[in-house]
Amino acid sequence: MDAVKSLGKSLVASPERQLEANSDLAIVRRVQEGDVAAFDQLVLKYRGRVYGVVYNMTSNREDASDLTQDAFIKSFQSINRFQGQSAFFTWLYRIAVNSTLTHLRKNRLRTFFSFEKINEDDKVSAEVIAALTDNTGADQETFARELQEKLNEAMQKLSIRHRTVITLFEIDGLGHQEIAEIMNCSVGTVRSRLHYAKQLLQAELQPYIRR
């Protein structure tokens, strides 16, 4: 069992992630021992990231909210079965991603978009929007909304698995190994899907790419 635990921990990418995983495990142990309130710490810590992943997979804020809540509830119900063989956030992400995949498969024909606003304080996005509107003279807010719609349309044109990979890698910033753990596939598969998804997105978003 110790070997399995060490293997699971070795899959965590960086030392920061290792520390994070250790602290999460301590909180999980407390919850397992009956300290239900300790679970709120985990919710507060991961709700933004989990919501971001689910939102970028569904492009619907209401669905994303429900699915994020469901993922936390499921993890709370099953927390006694969590043995620490992987990082808590990997386990939580897996629950969230699987719930979202199930939801997307069930509602494949029903797709409604409802977008969040682009955070104006984010420097990189501000730079990108400024660069794209530099010569056109268009209103940045209007252009930002248009770009947001195009980005979400391009994401929705990807298959569910490709969308998941690109979301976890490019938007959430996870490593290949972590994505492979979450999606229960090999690292090679992750890389392949990532490459293919990027190719498709590049083709879809060609008018917005400046070289």
Binding site: V43, R47, G48, Y51, G52, Y55, N56, R61, S65, D66, T68, Q69, D70, F72, I73, F76, Q77, F115, E116, K117, I118, N119, E120, D122, K123, V124, S125, A126, E127, V128, I129, A130, A131, L132, D134, Q140, A144, L147, Q148, L151, N152, M155, I166, E170, I171, K198, L201, Q202, L205, Y208, I209, R210, R211
Partner: protein, 278 residues
């Protein structure tokens, strides 16, 4: 936004960073917290269904579905191949034994019916004994060669054994053909006998005659009985009794005519008179 430094190139990663910047407002999390709390309480209060453990067990078994299914298909295939393996590569002759006098002749099934049809039942009983290998079917003058049985063909048959079996089979077939020829000749003689008997029987039949000639003319009494009514009325035409009968008949005829139809006839018979109305 206008104070941000200029960026000349925009890559796909940059565009996806814009996507990353899509974040919910702060007040969203208050609603999220409230909904989360409600769901958490509901999950604690709500009893788990009785079949929940079975789902867990099913999920564990599900990962072995592919190997178990493949093994089952392989086992069924092997079993089927073993069960339906051809018993013998050589043709197996189903033969019948026809006893003709003191001569036992193995005959093919196809010729059995023909022989049975031409042979009289009393004189040549046909013994239909379906024997796959008539090894012991031998009469005093003839020994029938054995045909390799099904048991010897199952499993691995060596090449020499197969050649021997083919030779013996060919010899057996030749014997059978000779026997069939003899049986056919015997049946021909029986057929001749039967045909001769039937021809003789036909000779003893009476000579053929015309059907109308066979009908006898009825006698006079019968003729009179058949034509009694009309003959009677004609024969009693004279005398009182004849007149009385004639009058009765005429009255009866008139009454019947009147009762049957409303048409009044121009002829009327009354007593000795016949009235004709113009």
């Amino acid at each position: 936004m206008n104070d941000t430094p200029r960026k000349t190139t925009v890559t796909l990663e940059d565009l996806l960073r814009v996507k990353r910047a899509e974040q919910p407002p702060v007040e969203f999390w208050a609603d999220f917290e409230r909904g989360m709390r409600a769901k958490q309480l509901a999950a604690i209060v709500e009893p788990r269904p009785w079949w929940a453990p079975f789902i867990r067990v099913g999920a564990r078994i599900a990962r072995y579905q592919l190997p178990v299914g493949a093994t089952a298909i392989l086992a069924i295939t092997l079993f089927t191949l073993r069960e339906y393996q051809p018993v013998n590569s050589n043709p197996v002759f189903e033969s019948t034994v026809t006893e003709m006098g003191n001569h036992v002749v193995p005959m093919p099934v196809a010729s059995k019916l023909d022989v049975a049809l031409v042979m009289p039942a009393a004189t040549s009983p046909v013994v239909a004994a379906a024997e796959p290998a008539p090894t012991a079917a031998a009469s005093g003058s003839r020994t029938v060669q054995p045909v390799p049985s099904a048991a010897t063909a199952v499993g691995a048959v060596s090449h020499v054994a197969m050649v021997n079996a083919e030779l013996s089979s060919a010899r057996y077939m030749a014997d059978k053909m000779a026997d069939n020829l003899a049986a056919a000749q015997a049946s021909d003689s029986n057929l001749d006998q039967m045909l001769g008997h039937s021809l003789r029987t036909m000779d003893n039949l009476p000579p053929r005659s015309e059907p109308l000639a066979q009908i006898s003319v009825p006698g006079e009494s019968r003729l009179y009985r058949l034509l009694g009514g009309s003959v009677q009325s004609v024969s009693v035409g004279s005398g009182d009794s004849a007149l009385r009968l004639n009058a009765q008949a005429a009255r009866h005829l008139t009454e019947r005519r009147i009762s049957e139809s409303d048409v009044i006839s121009r002829l009327a018979v009354g007593g000795n008179r016949l009235t004709v109305k113009f």
